[in-house]
Symmetry: C2
Subunit: 476 residues, 2 copies
């Protein structure tokens, strides 16, 4: 609350000159560190700065996974190759107990996908099917467009009013550093197709939930109500969606031909890849750090999420090489995140009986960490983490940490502490779920900054005497 009040004061420009004295009063408050704390902080700083200067482990993982495997759609043979690749790489880095933990899932795969305006202005459009989209007949469907500039406009459409039509929801999105634009625009992908279908639409196309102007549509899952028949649902690239908006602005009916033929393969195998950094205290609960190994099938999954696996693994490797921390650290390269967090759920089921004290996840690209947030009781520990991150320019946020999809089950089950190292999301949704998610988008220096931040945070947290299980595993 104090932090919030300071932020409000700072926003009043005329009072800016009084801030230095306030800041001095703030920093003067904590008691001086003990000699042991000084030594520990120095070790953290050295490890952090070494990672920033010369880490190559992270880059080699992203480079290797995107080059030697490429796309690794959940439940497919490509994801199985990725698991084998991951196990071999984690073994070669000397992690302990590296293993694949398989599970089965229902698997959806892309088919043909084309869209074209039939009239009044015939031309092809770039489209991709959303995950869990239904299929058109192989020859496609041709129908008039019903246009909804925003999600709210679709929601306001009367029941039955979309019968025989292709709904077009063109909800707009702008870049945001904290990724909040995704929450604003995401419903156009997550639920608009189901909503349109419930009002009679025979198919839905949306403006890509993304912030770029390239002809690369953004895929991603959509959802259906229980018992609802999935209709065809696709995303147009933003340039195509804008072109369609211009056509519609001319006031004549617009007819689209749509071919989307994804299909369900039935039950196939997926799996998590797990590796361990042993702790020095056998009674201390585990810190789980997660990323996801699967990717959408359009790009090579460089920023989503090879970079996350690369960052957490490079950081854990450095900590292991320095003798580890008091708490054991477990690496979770989760499978099948994109299509429904099957790997995270399987992890929660398989490991809910083991004590966890902290969960962290890296799944927001490869741009720099700019902020740290906590869901953690101890103020002194938060301060130590924030101080270890400050030289990297990382601010302490005022929000609560949430973890991420793959650690969601274990956080919910065990009420573990959570620390979020938030990456800059300004450009993330330019690439998210598109064919453009490739290695060339990653700046090696930014990747090293991430590794450095994770090294610093994990060293402080891994040795923290304050971390303990919040609730008994499996509520025992």
């Amino acid at each position: 609350m104090k932090t919030l009040r300071l932020a409000l004061v700072a926003s009043v420009a005329s009072l800016a000159l009084v801030l230095p004295s306030i800041a001095l009063a703030q920093t003067a408050a904590p008691k001086p560190p003990t000699p042991g704390e000084v030594t520990a902080a120095k070790a953290v700083a050295e490890a952090r700065d070494a990672a920033l200067a010369d880490d190559t482990v992270a880059w080699d993982i992203v480079e290797g996974l995107t080059t030697e495997v490429g796309q690794r759609m959940a439940g497919t043979e490509a994801e199985a190759r990725a698991r084998a690749w991951a196990k071999a790489r984690l073994d070669s880095l000397d992690f302990k107990s590296v293993r694949i933990e398989p599970y089965n899932m229902q698997t959806w795969v892309r088919g043909a996908e084309t869209a074209e305006i039939v009239s009044p202005f015939p031309q092809k459009m770039a489209i991709t099917a959303l995950g869990r989209s239904g299929a058109t007949p192989p020859e496609g469907i041709t129908a008039p467009i019903a246009y909804f500039p925003t999600y709210a406009d679709l929601a306001a459409a009367p029941a039955g009013s979309l019968k025989g039509k292709i709904a077009f929801i063109s909800h707009n999105m702008q870049p945001t550093q904290d990724g909040s634009g995704y929450g604003f625009a995401g419903p156009a992908r997550w639920t608009a197709p189901a909503l349109a279908a419930s009002k009679g639409a025979i198919a839905t196309v949306i403006k890509s939930v993304g912030t770029d102007l390239h002809r690369n549509p953004h895929t991603g899952n959509t959802g259906w109500a229980d018992g609802q028949t999935a209709t065809a649902a696709g995303a147009l690239s933003r340039p195509d969606a804008e072109n369609l908006e211009r056509m519609l602005a001319r006031g004549k009916p617009v007819t689209m031909k749509l071919v989307l033929t994804p299909r369900w393969l039935g039950e196939t195998q997926s799996g998590n890849v797990i590796a361990e950094v042993p702790g020095t205290d056998p009674r201390a609960g585990a810190i789980v750090i997660a990323c996801h190994l699967d990717s959408w099938d359009l790009g090579t999954g460089a920023i989503d999420d090879a970079s996350g696996c690369a960052i957490i693994t490079a950081a854990a490797k450095r900590i292991m090489a320095a003798g580890g921390t008091r708490h054991p650290i477990r690496l979770l390269w989760a499978g099948a995140e994109e299509v429904g967090v099957f790997g995270g759920a399987a992890y929660g089921k398989a490991h809910g009986g083991e004590a966890h004290v902290l969960a962290m996840e890296s799944d927001f690209g490869a741009d720099r960490v700019w902020r740290v947030n906590f869901n953690l009781a101890d103020e002194a520990l938060k301060t130590r983490v924030a101080q270890a991150l400050a030289p990297l320019g990382i601010t302490r946020g005022t929000g609560e940490a949430h973890g991420g999809a793959d650690v969601g089950a274990i956080i919910e089950a065990q009420q573990t502490a959570v620390v979020d190292l938030s990456q800059d999301g300004t450009h993330y949704f330019d690439l998210h779920h598109t064919s453009d998610d490739t290695l060339d988008k990653i700046d090696p220096a930014d990747l090293r900054q991430n590794v450095a931040a994770w090294v610093a945070a994990l060293m402080v947290l891994g040795n923290a005497p304050e971390l303990a299980p919040a609730v008994a595993p499996h509520g025992e």
Copy 2:
């Protein structure tokens, strides 16, 4: 030569302080303008600044053509729709003698196009066929890659050494303001497939001749020797080409499966669209200003070259509205430029018997004009043009003007004067010949700056007493 010497002096930083006095000496030299010249210069400035402030004609042309027609591949029904659109628009703008001048041509169209690495790292790659590419069988071909980092490496390959292989030429390109990078990298597209085929290659893939890192390959024509059988030839997107380079760097043989099934339609109709701005002196030769109406089939041809047609037309419209110039101005919206400059050749054939005094062309995107070059004898006229452009920040270049593809035939036949208003090409090859060539890439303010530059140049040149036919039409 004086200009060149000045540039050399300026490049020596230690002498920079003496430049102001040299510049003063330069500007002091010309004789003072007459009252008539002052009035004329003022009218030019007013017309230029009005275009810069509020032109909408150019934007409406680009917006309309890309929305209502989209891609307009030469020789196809889409180009015919574009001609009808162009004629209607030029008529509605009140140009005189608007007409379509048809000609026939051999027409090539794209088919299926996929590429995938079969081993050692199976994954799909983004590819597009080059214009005039031969075809693989419908089921494709699978063959080992022979890798050439540069065009010179391919040239050095022994005769017969590529037998049974797919040649991969990964010649690199960097952005340049003046577009010279295209001359450096272009041969990888223009002639590498023919060269590789002559050494036995069964197909050729190249790194796109482009400067972006998106998964949108750059198409464009390739050429074959007389009597040579065309093989399949495609461009990989740069991210894919870089991925292939990384695979090859691992030292194992790389095998690709390639499907490219373009075909020739035989002879079809294309055409130029021509419109006139009458001159006030019936004996004065014509100024021809050109753009091209056709586009490649991947994008909507916004910057290549709807913007060129938009710029020259908006400028000519303003000049016509102000009563025209002494010389008549002819608008040439050429057909079939991309696939072999058939429209430009047809124009030269049909109109070589009419006196032309000047040729200009706009075909380098929609970014700002930064430089003017001349191929023009009269120094005073060049100075007047340069002075009219200077307030737009346009520098006088030291090179020679060349015109462009569509005015090439008439320039060669009549040795007409040429003025080049060079657009900034730094970002042009991010989009050139890709699916990303769409309206959203154009900044309306930049487009207006182009119109303003063309208004200024055409008003000065159109009224210039110095312009006269250099040689008799058709050498009579």
